[in-house]
Amino acid sequence: MTGLSTFLRVIWLASGVLQLIIFVLILWLRHYRTLPAFAWYIGLNLAQAIVLVPVYSHYGFVSAAAFRAYWATQVITMVAQMLASTTLLHRALEDYPGIWELSWRVIWLAIVIVIGYSWATANSKDRWGLMYAHRGFYLTFAVAFVACLLLIRHYAIAIDPVYKVLIAGFCLYSCGNFLTDTLLKSQFMEHFPKYSEVWNASDLLIFFAVLVVWVVALRHPVRQSTQVPRASGIAYEEFAPQLNARLRELNDTLRRFFRRQAPQP
């Protein structure tokens, strides 16, 4: 594999081993029943590595064939990542359909806003178009899923720690990718001869850290759906506007104090 440094080879190999461990854990502990999309994601990541090893060995790491092979397979794993994380979120919130509905809207909102921006940016930069699109994807992902995690916290919903760690891992990986894309490749390092290696190394190191956390989390079984009490939709429809009206009244009373505080002419 010419063009690939020893450090990159080691970290890539280690990531592959960790993914294999995760795959074995998924099969051994039957996580595929509760996490089918995640199992697919890990499987596709392993398949990508299996496809890329002979390509890199034959054509070299820095070659047009390697570039094409990487990006063609990367798109598939990125789609798998999106599906896996959305399924995870759905499973985590299946006991809370109202909050899932809210999360889904937040995801769509983030997708529309960030993809719109990324599309505009990617079109204006031909040389780095692919990189901007890549960054846009991870930004969308990070914004949408961090917002969902914030919603989960806001409503004090306890989701299974395994789901939480897996979703957080995806978010961390996306934030890391977004940061490295921004700081390294598209900004500082474009004039630095070894920027590609720095970019690849940081990308792989973040992924490695996420994989370690996933291995630890997946040793535990995933909680099955629990019977939580339910409020009827009618109760919410009546309750929410009335309570908001009362909160508004209280706020208005407090506002009046500040008005009285203002100097009189």
Partner: protein, 193 residues
């Protein structure tokens, strides 16, 4: 290029900070067993102490001390009153939070929630918090004159009574809504996934 770099770096740092904050262990969680009893509990009986608070924060005492020339005592009384008001305002905030927590509990357990209502509540909470901190700052640093102190005390007392009434009313209704709907005899109950 530099401005883009700064903006995106700030976005990345904010995202990571939000992620860390979101992953912190919450103090109380709704692990399928909401504390329904806490929803039914009324707030503290502010009405019981209202006359005492009004008496304690009336301007008459301060005017009397000022006329008699007890400046030190007057300053001390002012400090003490300020503390009382701050405790009262803190209490008010905790009750406002209890009300919003109640609303969140009902929303979390409902099969469908309104984006508009949830957004409005978040906005109201933000406004309330902003005013709460403004009052704390003004009183903590002594920006508010003595005359305003008793005015605010009365206002806070009224707010507390309003809050207490709301807590009682909505607490009972929230708990009833959740309990009734979770009953196996109810068609809107646990069958909704």
């Amino acid at each position: 290029m530099t401005s883009t770099l700064i903006v995106f770096s700030i976005v990345a740092v904010l995202l990571i900070a939000a992620l860390i904050w979101a992953l912190r262990r919450p103090r109380r969680v709704s692990h399928g067993n909401f504390d329904l009893e806490s929803l039914e509990q009324p707030g503290r009986r502010h009405a019981t102490y209202l006359s005492l608070i009004r008496r304690a924060t009336s301007n008459d005492d301060l005017v009397f001390l000022s006329k008699r020339g007890y400046k030190k005592l007057q300053a001390r009384l002012h400090r003490e009153r300020r503390k009382v008001v701050l405790i009262y305002v803190d209490q008010l905030r905790s009750e406002f939070e209890r009300l919003t927590k109640m609303a969140r509990a009902v929303a979390a357990l409902s099969p469908s929630v309104s984006f508009r209502q949830e957004f409005e509540r978040a906005q109201l909470s933000f406004e309330f918090l902003a005013r709460y901190y403004a009052i704390r700052l003004a009183f903590g640093w002594g920006f508010v004159p003595i005359a305003q102190l008793s005015q605010l005390s009365q206002m806070v007392s009224q707010l507390s009574i309003q809050m207490e009434t709301s807590m009682r009313e909505f607490g009972e209704r929230a708990a009833a809504a959740v309990q009734t709907a979770s009953s196996p005899l109810d068609g809107n109950g646990a069958g909704i996934a």
